[in-house]
Subunit: 174 residues, 2 copies
């Protein structure tokens, strides 16, 4: 099982403004930078309760037919989901990973700040694809959080785009 992160941040490392706003990201997500190819390669998406609520407010369900797992210890109301495949799970990252592996899932996309941080802290992320948007916003929701120990990374590739997006792909060194 591989768990991957695919996320955009400001150059100073924020994935959203303090209020969750994403207005510093380029309109429409910027030029194509591999998201479609990435999402096509995953079997399931794991998000937190907060990201789920954010995504529910979008005009359309963004994950298509992909299986979406919402992590929450409290009951989650899925009645507003239209056309998506959604379920709830709870427990520590290692347990979530085991449950998904048992179901034959090979590649999971871990999304949302709190969820990414929790999975990284638990050593449950194998791959990071970080796209830096050329702006400093000064404050907001950080991509990274504290860790029990250093996580060494292996640099796989870096690509840059005419709009100034710089995307680096890393594998976590076990």
């Amino acid at each position: 099982m591989t768990a991957s992160v695919f996320i955009g941040t400001s150059v100073d490392g924020f994935i959203a403004r303090p209020n969750g706003d994403l207005d510093f990201l380029p309109e429409g997500g910027g030029e194509p930078h591999g998201y479609q190819e990435f999402i096509a390669s995953v079997d399931a998406i794991v998000i937190g309760h907060k990201t789920f609520e954010t995504v529910l407010a979008y005009p359309a369900w963004p994950y298509g037919e992909k299986r979406v797992v919402v992590l929450s210890s409290r009951p989650v109301d899925f009645s507003a989901v239209r056309g998506g495949v959604v379920e709830q799970m709870g427990g520590p990252p290692a347990e979530i990973v085991s449950q998904l592996a048992v179901r034959g899932i090979h590649h999971v996309y871990v999304d949302g700040g709190i969820t990414i941080q929790g999975f990284l802290r638990a050593g449950a992320i194998q791959r990071l694809i970080i796209t830096r948007v050329p702006v400093l916003i000064g404050e907001g929701i950080p991509l990274f959080g504290t860790l029990p120990r250093d996580i060494r990374l292996h640099h796989v590739a870096t690509r840059h785009y005419p709009s100034g997006l710089v995307q680096s792909e890393y594998l976590v060194v076990a």
Copy 2:
């Protein structure tokens, strides 16, 4: 006058551990990644009091014959500097920049976390060269701090190196 930053950070944006330790950087600074060329292009180096003290503890004065300006509102003891050209200045970044420009300085290297943040906040940085070391350290002294407003960046170039260093160069969009 151009003020540039040339600095290494962890992928999670720290320039040092909480205690100032730099042990997460590659030994000897990693493979050559443009520092010699950069330092040769500057006329003066502006650092804070804290960076000055750190540098004093190095086995040799690292700035050669370059003019080094130490920012401090309190008197700084320069008696331990051997062979360096050092002076003290105080005041807000814009004033420092004016003083340096009057002396015919065209390109200044701004170094040290607090000084970089202060100059960025004051809009006194024109160029950023950030080299990301492939590791997450979880906590430490951050490169970036809060800002009065967004700083838009223009991506100039990104280079990567066999050891996994990824260096991006940006100009501040005025």
